[in-house]
């Protein structure tokens, strides 16, 4: 939207995610927005429809040894390894700021055993101002971290347990590093998940030919950024045809066109990840540009884009 304000095309950006109403379909992706506060003097954090926090585990974690990020073609590799302050410090130091925001707070939870997830959620159930949980069953960085996400059976079991612990919005974040992502989406839907978010990072690796070593100390890392968008779109489109719960599309979103593509493929909302590192004000630009795209297509309600993907004759 480059023009003046008088004739601004009015677009209703709000969307429904289960019982939650988001003022717009853009959430900050876990691990790419810290605890919500860091960028608050560059962009108003509550412009987001929601914030997914860094993955929270029962105890503080230092994460993997550096180097643990690297730039590669059209994206980056990370092997942060779930570094976080732990649930207790999270509640004490990070929650008060999050509570003060006028946006939906989705706490991302990670663990190595079902007990880890339960412990974090039980503590967070006591806290006001949390709108839901995103369950990271897919972080490829830590040994064992892939387990719940890599089989439909274990994903279903975890979802079932967590469903019995909370009535809050429960979203399962799916891994792309599996044979059939739809099967896992179906399994967690069957156990009462309110939504699925996809995709987490793809397993990748870089090699330095001078040192003849992997570029990450951890050898493998998660690939994110524009390079993974085609893969993410295909997975969203597939899962959209398999389940009825809402999908949150993630992967390489850099601009408004990307957001529309995910919505056409079936996503109700999207998450902005790596783009926050490159362009902390991306959200503001995306909101403006979405108005222009909606106007060009005569659309007044952003949710009308959802699943509008047409078939070839």
């Amino acid at each position: 939207m480059k023009g003046g304000n008088q004739d601004r095309w009015e677009v209703d950006f709000s969307i429904e995610l289960g019982d939650l109403t988001l003022k717009n379909p853009m959430l900050a992706a876990s691990g790419t927005y810290g605890y919500g506060r860091e960028l608050n003097n560059i962009i108003k954090t509550d412009e987001f429809g929601g914030i997914c926090t860094k993955s929270i585990t029962p105890l503080a974690r230092d994460g993997n040894e550096p180097p643990r990020i690297a730039e590669v073609k059209m994206g980056m590799l990370n092997s942060i390894g779930l570094a976080n302050v732990g649930v207790h410090a999270f509640i004490q130091d990070k929650i008060p700021f999050l509570q003060s925001l006028d946006t939906n707070i989705i706490v991302n939870v990670a663990g190595f055993t079902i007990g880890d997830y339960v412990e974090v959620i039980q503590l967070l159930e006591e806290i006001d101002g949390i709108d839901g949980y995103e369950i990271n069953i897919s972080c490829p960085n830590v040994k064992g971290g892939l387990e719940f996400g890599s089989s439909a059976k274990s994903a279903a079991k975890l979802t079932k347990t967590l469903r019995s612990e909370t009535d809050r919005f429960l979203m399962i974040k799916l891994s792309p590093n599996v044979t059939d992502i739809s099967e896992i989406a179906l399994a967690v839907e069957g156990e009462g998940a309110n939504a699925v978010s996809l995709i987490n990072t793809l397993i990748g690796m870089g090699i330095d030919i001078n040192s003849e070593k992997p570029i990450l100390k951890n050898v493998y890392g998660g690939y994110s950024g524009p390079a993974i968008k085609p893969i993410a779109l295909a997975m969203v489109q597939k899962v959209y045809h398999s389940v009825n719960i809402p999908l949150i599309g993630i992967g390489g979103i850099m601009n408004a066109e990307d957001v529309i593509q995910f919505m056409l493929a079936g996503a109700t909302a999207v998450q902005l990840g790596t783009v926050n590192f490159l362009n902390p004000t991306a959200l503001t630009e995306i909101l403006d540009d979405l108005v222009a795209i909606a106007e060009s297509k005569g659309i007044r309600k952003i949710s009308d884009f959802k699943g509008r993907l047409k078939e070839w004759e």
Binding site: G63, P226, M254, V275
Partner: protein
């Protein structure tokens, strides 16, 4: 933001100035700006540069062309628009309390010390400036900065050898309360060793690859010796947010 000038000032080294903002006017020595040199393609990450000077109208950075990102930067011209965020990070402690100080830098580690020099001069702090370069052709320190003692690898400028040799020598004759250092890691390690031997407080500015520069990716870690929680667990500190300037005793370089 708009580029005001971009000039070669030494071998492979450029000075770039751009429009100042209210926020940038408050920049402190040791803080940096993070520049998106090429949209979203390649290089992918932003590139961090220390602030070399700030005035009412402009901010200066000084950079060496060493790869694709800095090469693209060197092709920018006055009037071009440039995507910059900053000031970022924690700079040097400016609580000088009239102490005698040494600023010691190597190569393109010197720009933040030039900014610090200005602040110290404003406050009348007594200081010594030690600067090391590969050769005289690499020297870009402006004339207004006086009393600099130089070293160079090939002896074409000042004393032949390491800038840390100048430090050792200087400490023999002077009582110094605080050393401020910025430069390549091997140089910093040597500075810290000398500071420790002489029991002098030492602040170092550290470089790591930055994914974001704003404290959200948790990639730019350095091992610390703080024994308390940081933003990223306990063992590491974030260089971009908790640094880039650290007290030498707080980090393990």
């Amino acid at each position: 933001m708009r580029v005001l000038s971009n000039e070669k000032i030494a071998l492979n080294i450029y000075s770039l100035t751009f429009e100042s903002t209210a926020l940038l006017l408050e920049s402190l020595p040791g803080q940096f700006v993070n520049i998106n040199v090429d949209g979203e393609d390649s290089p992918f990450f932003r590139r961090p540069f220390s602030i070399a000077d700030v005035s009412q109208d402009s901010v200066e950075i000084i950079y060496e062309v060493i790869g694709a990102g800095t090469w693209i930067l060197s092709t920018m011209a006055a009037g071009d628009s440039i995507d910059i965020i900053g000031p970022l990070g924690e700079g040097y402690d400016l609580n000088f309390s009239g102490s005698k100080s040494i600023l010691i830098g190597g190569g393109v580690g010197i720009p933040p010390l030039m900014f610090l020099y200005n602040k110290m001069k404003e406050q009348g702090i007594e200081l010594q400036f030690l600067a090391g370069f590969k050769s005289v052709a690499h020297n870009y320190i402006p004339r207004r900065i006086t009393n600099v003692q130089y070293s160079s690898d090939d002896g074409s400028l000042g004393t032949k050898g390491y800038v840390t040799d100048l430090l050792t020598e200087s400490l023999l004759n002077n009582e110094v309360k605080h050393i401020y250092a910025c430069g390549p890691e091997p140089m910093l390690r040597k500075v810290i060793e000398i500071a420790d031997e002489n029991e002098i407080r030492c602040s170092v500015s550290v470089e790591k690859v930055f994914g974001c520069g704003t404290g959200i990716c948790m990639g730019c870690v350095i091992e610390n010796s703080l024994k308390r929680f940081t933003e990223t667990g306990r063992k590491y500190s974030l260089v971009c947010m908790e640094g880039p300037v650290f007290d030498s005793g707080d980090v393990n370089l």
